[in-house]
């Protein structure tokens, strides 16, 4: 056994500890000979570099996993296989960083898409809401218009019906006048005959009878004209009644259609349907909810 045994055992002990993973162990002071100093320094240098490599490998990987890609693997002070492994780890860190950037840019474009979709849907739902509002107002205007048109037409119908009734009465009155005229004609004929029989004494009387006859004839003629007129009025008013009835029916139909439009726009509480304006809002809210999920 040599005199260096104690020093060699000390080195062996340190190496065993390091082999077991205790990189805190270092070779203690062995003695002051050149060989003792050198072997201590060499073994400790080996341990320092291994220690440094292990700390770097652990910390650099942990930093990469945490997304701290700015933290590089420090290859300084590393040679040979240590350096090659260090560079390998650096490259995988770069790859991770690159992947992370790609993922980030994919996420960014997803967000950008979400933003675009959102503004498109917002613009659309605003337009729908505006159009629905416009339609609602127009439909209400039309409905009012249709109501007053029906009212007007009904009043027209009443007027025409009234006209028919009045012309009936006129006809009645004219019939009466006709009968009176006829009676007057007969009366004047009898008067003329009686005047002729009376001779010269009845001459003055016969002039009067002639006048009465002429008057009765004229009356009969003009009342015939009136009857013709009244007949024309009655025919025309029958036509007018037919037309007005058709018009009011059409307007009533139109009014129903307009109510349908208003219900589509504003919703219908009776049948519990959702209106267009409300649907636009529902669309906006649903898309917003989808986008919140997509952005998360």
């Amino acid at each position: 056994m040599g005199e260096n045994d104690e020093a060699l055992y000390a080195i062996a002990d340190t190496c065993r500890q390091a082999a077991a993973g205790n990189l805190e162990a270092r070779v203690p002071y062995l003695g002051e000979s050149k060989a003792e100093t050198e072997v201590r320094s060499a073994v400790n240098d080996l341990l320092d570099r291994t220690d440094a490599f292990v700390r770097e490998a652990g910390a650099a990987s942990a930093a990469g996993a945490a997304g701290h890609f700015y933290r590089r693997f420090l290859a300084g002070g590393m040679g040979g296989a240590y350096r090659r492994a260090a560079e390998e780890i650096s490259r995988s860190g770069d790859a991770m960083s690159h992947n992370a950037e790609q993922i980030a840019s994919a996420a960014e474009s997803r967000i950008a898409f979400a933003d675009q979709l959102e503004s498109a849907v917002l613009a659309l739902s605003e337009k729908i809401a505006a159009a629905a509002g416009e339609m609602g107002r127009s439909a209400n205007g039309l409905a009012g218009f249709a109501r007053s048109a029906v009212g007007d037409a009904e009043r027209g119908l009443e007027t025409v019906t009234e006209l028919r009734r009045s012309s009936g009465q006129i006809r009645h009155a004219v019939d009466l006048i006709n009968r009176v005229a006829m009676q007057t004609q007969l009366l004047s004929l009898n008067a003329s005959i009686e005047a002729a029989r009376a001779g010269a004494a009845g001459r003055g009387f016969s002039v009067v009878a002639n006048e009465v006859k002429t008057l009765a004839n004229e009356t009969g003629e003009s009342s015939g004209e009136i009857i013709d007129q009244v007949d024309a009025v009655q025919l025309a008013s029958e036509d007018a009644v037919r037309v007005l009835k058709a018009v009011t029916d059409r307007i009533r139909e139109m009014s129903g259609l307009i109510d349908g439009i208003a219900a589509a726009v504003d919703g219908d509480t009776v049948h519990e349907t959702t209106g267009l304006s409300e649907l636009a809002e529902v669309l906006r809210v649903e898309v917003q909810r989808f986008l919140t999920a997509a952005r998360a």
């Binding site: 990189l23 805190e24 270092r26 002071y29 320094s41 400790n44 240098d45 320092d48 570099r49 220690d51 440094a52 700390r55 770097e56 910390a59 701290h68 700015y70 933290r71 590089r72 420090l74 300084g76 002070g77 040679g79 770069d94 960083s97």
Partner: protein
């Protein structure tokens, strides 16, 4: 506590790209291990370093706020990176890009802290130096240590806010400066 006050000479010391400056401390920041490179660059013997608090190499240019952030972060069991200028025992100074981490045992308990330091880029040193100048100026307006550290810390937060970066992001901005990934 340091027994003698080292005066900075203004001389800068460098170490090479392939080297790592390594120290370990217990949970209070007392040095338990220092590698060859640390001892050489700091102009210290092993027995001068081990058992001493880590502020053994503290440079007066370092703002207090940075060390507050360092200890706050370690207490949260997280790693921290920092540009640090250290003062060697002979008065020279050296800039490092320090990575400080807790050391855990198998049950997940913090058993101490560890620091690996690497060579920083010149542009990172220049930027860190400028930032620390601003923090120092804020701290020097206060006599009491507590107020000074609060002022420096607030200034750091304001700088970060203006840049819209976290402290970690700022540190890595400097370290990747001029390099594309």
């Amino acid at each position: 506590m340091k027994t003698t006050q080292v005066r900075p000479t203004g001389q800068e010391r460098k170490f090479s790209d392939g080297e790592l400056i390594v120290t370990k401390t217990d949970t209070r920041g007392i040095l338990t291990y220092a590698n060859d490179v640390f001892l050489r660059i700091s102009a210290l013997d092993e027995e001068e370093a081990i058992g001493q608090p880590h502020n053994l190499i503290r440079h007066p240019d370092m703002p207090r706020a940075v060390f507050k952030l360092l200890w706050d972060t370690l207490k949260e069991r997280r790693e921290i990176f920092a540009y640090v200028v250290n003062l060697a025992a002979d008065g020279a100074h050296y800039w490092v890009f320090a990575h400080v981490t807790p050391s855990f045992d198998d049950s997940g308990r913090v058993v101490g802290y560890h620091s690996n330091r690497r060579v920083p880029s010149r542009s990172a040193i220049a930027a860190a130096d400028e930032l620390y100048g601003v923090l120092r100026a804020a701290e020097r307006r206060h006599d009491r240590a507590q107020e000074a550290v609060a002022a420096g810390y607030a200034t750091l937060q304001r700088v970060l806010e203006e840049r819209g970066r976290t402290y970690d992001e700022l540190v890595w901005d400097l370290s990747t400066n001029g390099r594309t990934r």
